[in-house]
């Protein structure tokens, strides 16, 4: 019984935090864009425009709901639901912090430590494309269909390089469990005792990180890879026909994906909740709080990196996108994997 209560609380809070992070990512995105373009951004709703996400959500909910006549009605409605569902499911295997003792038992800050955690994330990432494909097709609009097809071929192409990078990381760790991958990174970097807690994969695999980051941008359909919502060519992309909260779900799913991608990057390359000096903190509760705070700092950093890239780089052309994916990233990822394998074999 205790187990069920503990896990339910954890699930509800992770879900809540995911939604709040996604909501405030929209605010941050607008503020960040405004900063880069030398303007103010949202500043009317609340102090610094902090209530803007609530205003947006209210607007989305009360807008007119419109379903085109020639659409495939069930799938049209299911599309945004699938997008939202697959986006939310991924957070289940992320270790948010170390175990701690409370109420006389050990509490784990991970919803489920399945021994194939990283493959679970890959699985839901690969399913994420269905929300877009189904929505785009069911709209019965040629621009939506083009966008859905672009999105799916883009996501399949970039998943390959991403998968090879994950194989590299798994080879280094020897485990598919995200918890083990994080614990592996708590040691001393290059065996120097002063750098304890800094044994992050980024210091061993910088190229892998760059490839993974690029693929994550493409998987989230974020600029410069947002070919699926390329306004100048495709009106609005796969959500051209959508209105009201269904459109909101699509847009929101993108921000959730961004949050999850940042979390995965922080977890597998930047040590998850580990930070240098964490062995000095004796108090278990304080340590847990600090670890969670550090993880969220890393996540916010990556969300801001995503935004920085979006507002800096112009959009790619579609053939450039495919060339980058198939002719640069995949060969680089394979070479990286082979070198890693050789090094592991030699040591």
């Amino acid at each position: 019984m205790d187990f069920i209560i503990e896990k339910s609380v954890l699930i509800v809070s992770v879900f809540g935090i995911t939604l709040v992070m996604a909501m405030y990512s929209t605010w941050l995105e607008r503020k960040f864009a405004a900063f880069l373009q030398d303007r103010l951004g949202p500043n009317r709703a609340g102090i610094f425009g902090l209530l803007q996400p609530f205003a947006d959500a209210g607007k989305m909910f009360f807008k007119e709901e419109f379903i085109p006549n020639h659409s495939e009605k069930f799938l049209f409605i299911a599309g945004p639901g699938i997008a939202m569902f697959t986006a939310c499911m991924t957070s289940a295997v992320i270790p948010w912090g170390p175990d701690f003792e409370a109420f006389g038992r050990t509490i784990s800050l991970q919803i489920s430590d399945i021994n194939i955690g990283i493959l679970y994330i890959m699985g839901f990432l690969s399913l994420g494309v269905y929300g877009i494909m189904i929505g785009g097709w069911a709209s019965n609009n040629k621009y939506s269909l083009f966008s859905a097809i672009r999105a799916s071929s883009q996501m399949i192409s970039y998943e390959l390089a991403m998968g090879i990078i994950i194989i590299t990381i798994v080879m280094m760790t020897g485990s598919l469990s995200l918890r083990n991958i994080v614990q592996e990174q708590s040691g001393a970097l290059y065996n120097i005792t002063a750098l304890k807690g800094l044994n992050w994969n980024i210091f061993y695999q910088p190229l892998a990180f760059i490839i993974f980051m690029t693929c994550a941008l493409a998987e989230c359909n974020r600029a410069p890879f947002d070919l699926a919502e390329c306004e100048t060519e495709l009106i609005g992309g796969y959500h051209t026909e959508y209105s009201s909260m269904k459109l909101g779900f699509y847009l929101f799913a993108e921000y959730i994906n961004m949050f999850i991608s940042s979390t995965v990057i922080a977890t597998i390359f930047f040590g998850g909740y580990n930070f240098p000096g964490m062995q000095l903190i004796e108090n278990s509760a304080l340590l847990t709080v600090m670890c969670v705070a550090v993880l969220f700092l890393k996540i916010i950093f990556f969300i801001m990196l995503f935004m920085w890239i979006r507002w800096t780089l112009p959009r790619f052309r579609y053939d450039q996108l495919m060339h980058l994916g198939w002719k640069s990233l995949i060969p680089l990822a394979i070479i990286n994997m082979l070198i890693t394998g050789a090094v592991i074999l030699a040591t």
């Binding site: 194939i116 690969s126 399913l127 494309v129 097809i149 996501m155 998943e159």
Partner: protein
């Protein structure tokens, strides 16, 4: 009836219903979507057999990649009722009789061979990553490598077929 059995029957029913809906759907896109759900049913079976790795790989490879390509092609072809080839009643009747006799023959020939080993004699951890990897890279390493060469050959073939011919004028 234990929880395991209830889950099994639920999953089995789900898989069979979805698989038949693949055949009975008029719209090819719906067929593909039902096929994806069938894949999920099969993955559920893997999970109930404690083969988590197989379940996830099944989802990633079939539902996540192959079915996306299926959907992709079918959406592009834009198949509908008008373009569907219509067979006459005699053809349909002949197909039903032919298929039915094939099923009967298969059932008759396999009926005597079905003596499955009892489930708990097998190590229940065989589907986990570690035992599976060990078996795959020691006992079955030759078939494993040969199948990867086969995939490579298929890949080269697909590239060859998809390649634009040199002398063909470029219309773009």
């Amino acid at each position: 009836m234990g929880a395991e059995q209830i889950i099994f029957f639920f999953l089995a029913a789900f898989t069979v219903v979805m698989a038949s809906l693949v055949v009975f759907s008029k719209n090819p896109v719906h067929s593909v979507l039902f096929l994806i759900l069938t894949m999920f049913g099969i993955a559920g079976h893997y999970l109930s057999l404690n083969a988590q790795f197989l379940a996830v790989v099944h989802i990633i490879v079939y539902a996540g990649a192959i079915m996306v390509l299926f959907l992709f092609v079918i959406m592009l072809l834009n198949l509908n009722k008008e373009s569907e080839p219509r067979k006459t009643l005699w053809w349909q009747l002949g197909a039903v009789i032919g298929g039915g006799s094939l099923m009967l023959t298969l059932i008759a020939s396999f009926q005597s061979t079905i003596k499955l080993p009892i489930a708990h004699e097998i190590d229940s951890n065989i589907g986990l990553v570690k035992p599976l990897g060990k078996v795959l890279f020691t006992e079955y390493v030759v078939p494993f490598e040969i199948s990867s060469v086969l995939f490579l050959a298929a890949l080269v073939g697909a590239v060859l077929i998809g390649q634009r011919k040199q002398e063909e004028p470029n219309h773009s």
